[in-house]
């Protein structure tokens, strides 16, 4: 028998038992709830069940919160109702809540790591597909639906079939202007939006070792966009440095004890993966999406594809449909696409490093188009303000907002107008994602800043300030 992968080790540690069909009952260490969890709480209520381990769930308001104020005064009744249901449900079940005006508020997947709640070796779930983010710290973390959330609330366990393991191994040095976002868009474009379906991904290689924790969070966040169940990176010294001292992390002797265990979880040298993908960092360029699926991505130097060159009639129709929706012409240079708006935010790319990078590029320029900056958490906002980054964005003519999911999903009303085109640091360019009729181009925060400066999709490498390496 070969060695075990990081994923295998954590899975095995959490397996309570198997049923006759071989499905595993897993212990859940941490569950994160947000406003959308109301369906799950309603299911509990229907059946008269209570929350089995309220201390292992944490509620955070993020999806529907306003970004122009930290109160609900000007929020419409229906949105307000969803936010208040989170408050009522967590209170009724004695689940701790980080509410709208809490200094720790932010997007669940930014707050978890920030508070030290996210730790290597933990099994974490949330009723949100980007829960894969937390795997960057060596946790096994994945998104679940409302029925499963209800199951976790009622039992602190979950039935799951074991996915297969895919290793994405990347060696070499990323060129200036190329970031974790570009790595993700590059592999998703290669394998397809369902290319990693049924797999747990482990990212490894010298490029990954060099990535900061924040960049790793971005990379693991996007695992779901390639269809993967989760994305993971083995804990290393950087991980321990990041976690140490955070309020919800183990402290003192417990931290030392945990650290030794965390490092031992790395995949064994002879571990077998079901599938392997090798990439060279040098081959990755700043990448943008042109279509309506994250797989429809190309290096910024590319051209809008031509349906006439599609492989099959079905592919041609699909391509034409994407181009029609996006309002693009076949063969058009990507850098000739004008934008109406920019957005930097979301659990993918709104951490402090993202804001620093974007600010370093836009500093001293005026944005050609309006736009929003919504920090990933209230703590990120505070820190950015302490560094004066807010002033750089404001002087460029952009709006500096409070933290929340905001224009990533538009649930709080931060939306594009129909037909408007955004350069966005988010994770989904689906039809209507940023509002009905919205057209989204996904890219790194550095690329969003570059697009703001010119008003077109732009190769950030043309605008890099000296000595800045995003």
């Amino acid at each position: 028998m070969g060695g075990m992968t990081l994923f295998d080790k954590i899975w095995q540690t959490h397996e309570i038992c198997q049923n006759e069909e071989g499905q595993s009952l897993l212990w859940v260490d941490r569950h994160l709830a947000h406003e959308g969890s109301f369906h799950a709480f309603n299911k509990l209520a229907e059946r008269g069940l209570s929350v089995r381990h309220p201390e292992l769930t944490l509620g955070i308001a993020d999806h529907y919160v306003p970004t122009n104020a930290r109160n609900l005064i000007n929020v419409n009744a229906k949105t307000r109702n969803v936010i208040e249901q989170l408050i009522d449900n967590t209170r009724a079940h004695h689940v701790p809540l980080i509410g709208l005006d809490d200094p720790r508020q932010g997007i669940v997947h930014v707050v978890g790591p920030e508070l030290g709640l996210t730790q290597p070796g933990l099994l974490m779930v949330c009723g949100d597909s980007h829960t894969s983010t937390h795997g960057a710290l060596g946790a096994l973390a994945f998104g679940i639906g409302a029925s499963e959330v209800a199951h976790v609330l009622a039992t602190q366990t979950l039935w799951q079939s074991k996915p297969k393991c895919l290793r994405i191994h990347i060696d070499g040095e990323l060129a200036p202007g190329v970031s974790a976002k570009d790595i993700a868009l590059a592999w998703i474009a290669r394998l397809g939006a369902d290319g990693a379906r049924g797999y747990a991904i482990e990212y490894s290689g010298s490029t990954i070792a060099e990535l900061s924790i924040e960049a790793r969070l971005t990379l693991c966040n996007l695992s779901i966009e390639g269809g993967a169940r989760c994305g993971m990176i083995a804990a290393d010294e950087k991980t321990l440095d990041y976690i140490g001292g955070r309020p919800m992390a183990p402290q003192g002797k417990a931290f030392e004890q945990a650290s030794a265990y965390w490092l031992s979880l790395a995949s064994d040298a002879d571990a077998r993966f079901d599938l392997e993908l090798h990439l060279a960092a040098e081959d990755i360029a700043p990448t943008v999406t042109w279509g309506t699926s994250p797989e429809e991505a190309l290096p910024i130097t590319g051209k809008v594809p031509d349906p006439a060159q599609a492989q099959s009639a079905e592919a041609r129709k699909h391509l034409q449909d994407s181009l029609d929706y996006m309002g693009l012409t076949p063969g058009q240079a990507l850098t000739d696409i004008p934008i109406n708006r920019v957005f930097i935010g979301s659990c993918t790319n709104a951490r402090i490093e993202d804001l620093r990078t974007a600010a370093s590029i836009i500093k001293g320029h005026k944005s050609k188009v309006p736009g929003l900056i919504s920090p990933g958490s209230t703590e990120v906002k505070r820190q950015a303000e302490a560094e004066g980054l807010d002033q750089i964005f404001i002087e460029a003519g952009l709006e500096w907002r409070e933290s929340g999911c905001s224009m990533c999903v538009g649930m709080n009303g931060d939306q594009l107008q129909p037909g408007e085109r955004s350069a966005s640091s988010t994770n989904r360019n689906f039809k209507g994602r940023q509002g009905p009729g919205s057209r989204t181009h996904l890219m790194s925060p550095a690329m969003v800043a570059a697009a703001a400066i010119t008003g077109y999709l732009t190769d950030v490498r043309m605008l890099l300030p000296e000595e800045v390496t995003p």
């Binding site: 229906k78 509410g99 809490d102 709640l117 009723g127 199951h151 369902d194 379906r197 699926s293 129909p418």
Partner: protein, 215 residues
């Protein structure tokens, strides 16, 4: 949960690929309680134009759509957001089975949890099925026991995780099943807590702000 064994019903040839859950139910409708019925929101932005008028040639706007219980789509159906509301929209509209070459993982398990069968067929079989459906508006038969789909002369197999098959066939509900494993769970926790004591508590004082919200 209502068991699923066999179904013979009119089917909708949706035929689109990458129908993500944001399209299945746009985010703006998810504030609504389930009791309003989510069927009205299904594929809303494809069904209605910017002036709220039905798009004339869209499959779900045809008069026969009212009776359809099976949806046939192309690859990567239900990718993206984990929103179970996407399944509620399909189920409340009247669908009990979706046939496609691939599904988003979270979507599939959400579907099973609501008695909706996600039947995986090969790309070629999906194309055969879609063309068989276009020839005539005849019903499709789905047999979960045999894992077989029939439409006119076309007979194709489909795949489904065996655990999900059993659950759908029996209409079992997870939470009840799990309670039967209480002894195993308690035994597990006991050992787990000893081996990994730091996992027991996530924090003290995370609830300090509850009372300050809404001021």
């Amino acid at each position: 949960m209502r068991p699923f064994t066999q179904l013979t019903a009119p089917a909708c040839p949706l035929g689109l690929s990458n129908v993500d859950t944001d399209q299945l139910i746009p985010a703006r409708f998810m504030k609504e309680p389930r009791s309003v019925g989510y069927g009205q929101f299904l594929l809303y932005d494809l069904r209605f134009d910017a002036t709220q008028q039905p798009v004339a040639d869209f499959a779900l706007n045809q008069p026969e759509a009212e009776h359809q219980q099976i949806l046939v789509a192309r690859r990567n159906f239900g990718a993206g957001s984990s929103r179970e509301a996407a399944v509620y929209a399909l189920v409340d509209f009247g669908f009990r089975c979706v046939i496609a070459p691939s599904f988003g993982d979270i979507f599939s398990s959400n579907a099973v949890n609501n008695g909706l069968l996600p039947a995986v067929v090969s790309e070629e079989d999906c194309e055969r099925l879609l063309s068989a459906m276009h020839q005539k508006t005849s019903p499709i038969s789905v047999d979960l026991e045999q894992q077989r789909i029939e439409c006119n002369a076309v007979r194709i197999p489909f795949a489904i995780n065996p655990v999900w098959r059993t659950r759908l066939l029996n209409g079992w509900d997870d939470i009840d099943l799990t309670e039967g494993y209480r002894t195993e769970i308690d035994r597990f926790i006991h050992h787990y807590r000893q081996a990994y004591p730091w996992t027991e508590q996530q924090s003290q004082g995370a609830d300090a702000s509850i009372e300050r919200v809404n001021q």
